[in-house]
């Protein structure tokens, strides 16, 4: 039986920005991972991690400066411009701020229909039909068609963005902090919707966020980014329950979880120091300036990205040997199970 081919893959992907004559910002630096069809792949990172740039590179919004992005094994940039434009329709993205993503002067129907208008493969009546169906699928009744964005709530606007993306029947949707700007109860709604759509249309999601609670809930596998590099990757349960990298550990520990005090397994790891400048990251392991386990080796040599346990990768000289603080999320998992 042949192994299933990853739908999206990166091989040593780098995205660099030249800021001035002698400074280059490597927003994404030698990142490699696979995303299998039908899975939800989470990417966790904070500001400065490069996760947004990575998301954009995955859907060909940023050209790689080094390495490759592969769609179904093929390099999209090897295609001609016209072919690339068609190819892109299959790989879509939903952004964080639905206000910025919707033209305030276009009705909802026009916004949702716009990708079809651009693709121009169907007559207008059919495009309207498809758009209305997409709207219905995301839970917006037909009366929304003639409204304008300012008349809708945040959650409704985000649904419009999702409907818009659905019209093209993509295989992959990158969600870049798609629920971060929404209230908790709306967030739950949208996450449920995304899960339904995934089942119905066989979608593959790449979910970029800083919220561990969200990513822990919806992802099958998860990768953690710091300063442009991947520091850990694996099955969600494994990464959240037994993190191999101190940064993941710190993130888990820092995530505020709603638990009464007597149920908290509380050792909190507070990260010291500040995020180093992405333009000149620390030598060796980038995380060493804030890591409580840092040794001389960490400054001298950059850790290898290795499969420490089956399916569980990490970039740390001491991965797997460090004492990990009990994460509050772990406590919740026990409670919930």
């Amino acid at each position: 039986m042949t192994a299933p081919q990853p739908l999206v893959a990166t091989r040593d992907l780098g995205v660099h920005f030249r800021l001035s004559r002698n400074t280059v910002l490597k927003a994404v630096d030698r990142v490699s991972f696979d995303v299998m069809p039908g899975e939800t792949f989470g990417i966790i990172g904070e500001s400065g991690s490069g996760k947004t740039t990575l998301g954009r590179a995955l859907v060909c919004l940023e050209a790689p400066s080094a390495g490759q992005v592969l769609h179904q094994g093929r390099d999209p940039y090897a295609l001609s411009r016209r072919q690339l434009r068609q190819h892109r329709r299959n790989y879509q993205v939903v952004f964080q701020d639905p206000n910025a993503a919707l033209d305030p002067r276009m009705t909802i129907l026009r916004s949702v229909r716009e990708p079809l208008d651009v693709a121009a493969t169907m007559p207008r009546a059919q495009r309207d039909e498809v758009a209305m169906q997409a709207m219905e699928r995301v839970g917006l009744s037909p009366e929304f068609a003639t409204r304008y964005p300012h008349e809708l709530s945040g959650g409704q606007k985000q649904r419009v963005c999702i409907a818009r993306v659905l019209t093209l029947r993509p295989s992959v949707i990158v969600c870049d902090e798609a629920v971060a700007a929404l209230d908790v109860s709306i967030q739950a709604d949208i996450l449920n919707l995304l899960a339904d759509l995934q089942r119905e249309f066989g979608l593959t999601y790449i979910f970029i966020t800083h919220n561990l609670g969200v990513v822990g809930h919806i992802s099958d596998r998860v990768a953690v980014m710091y300063l442009g590099r991947l520091v850990e990757m694996g099955e969600t349960e494994a990464v959240l329950a037994r993190p191999l990298h101190p940064y993941t550990d710190a993130l888990l520990s820092a995530e505020p979880v709603a638990l009464p005090s007597h149920m908290r397994t509380s050792q909190r790891v507070i990260l010291s120091g500040e995020l180093p400048s992405p333009v000149s990251p620390p030598s060796g392991c980038r995380f060493r300036t804030r890591c409580r386990f840092a040794q001389d080796l960490c400054a001298a040599k950059e850790p290898e990205w290795s499969e420490v346990e089956p399916g569980h990768w990490a970039a740390c000289h001491f991965a797997g040997t460090l004492p990990v603080s009990s994460s509050p999320l772990q406590g919740v998992a026990e409670v919930v199970a």
Partner: protein, 338 residues
Amino acid sequence: MDHAVKQPLLEVNKLSAFFRAGRGEVQVTRDVSFTMAPGEMVGLVGESGCGKTVTGLALMGLLPPASSRLEGQILLQGQDLITMAPATKRRLRGRRISMIFQEPMSALDPVFTIGHQISETLRAHQDVSRAEARNRAIEALARVGIPEPALRYDAYPHQLSGGMRQRAMIAIALVCEPQLLIADEPTTALDVTVQAQIVDVLGELCARMGMAMLFITHDLGLVSQTCSRLVTMYAGEVVEEGQVDDILLRPRHPYSSGLLRSLPALTQRKARLPAIPGRVPVRGDMPPGCRFHPRCAHAQPECTAPQPLRAVQPPGEVRCCRAKELILPGVLPVERAA
């Protein structure tokens, strides 16, 4: 209801805020009541539009007087802030009651150094020389954990990272050692690891200075981590109030319960998240009686009658006529909570 044995630091009684809209006015918050004891950390929780920020601003007297109006009482150690003369109230701000805001970049004056902004607060309230103000400002910067405080005194806000700016704002708010700090979503714009640092600093300073804190946020996780008491707001009203641990385990109001249950971390992985159906009512178009009843799974005909805050055991208050009979899931599913 008075939890504190000694006189409460803050007593908010039936506070209502009205904003001018067109020719009339619209009521933004209604009958908000809660108390705070000295040194207590209270979380004011709700989703956007629930009126929690408006309440915080009302406590500080920062709502624009030309376009807003307050009814009710705000008693700070017995003195009513609403009827107080504006000049007297101004002297309280920054001195006995301080506030920090959400976006530190836009909340700090960009053309003055952070050191100057701290000293300025000090000199506005206390009679200190420039030199002494500078020293105390540097101390304040050190207390909030800013490294090399003497150097950072001369830094401008745009030269600092988000976390540092928020620390600077905290330093400004705390330099006169107020009795009450109102923190309006202070960490929402920050990364989670930075958030943890800031929350830590706040907790430590409150403990050390014996300062009370009203933590306004939508993040129940944060509240459970930092506060001992919790006040939940919905559509401009207080719907529940009590000890954090009690409410987390045994919420009395269906909205609190719904909010807790919709947190992704509390549902089994990949399972459907219990979401609250419907939408928050718009101002000016509120349902009669309980404002949550159109979305509530436990609604009954009597919910359309006006609902006051009722006392419940364990000590708390809830605005729900069925509080005594309902058993609602909180952090734990219902069967496990009993």
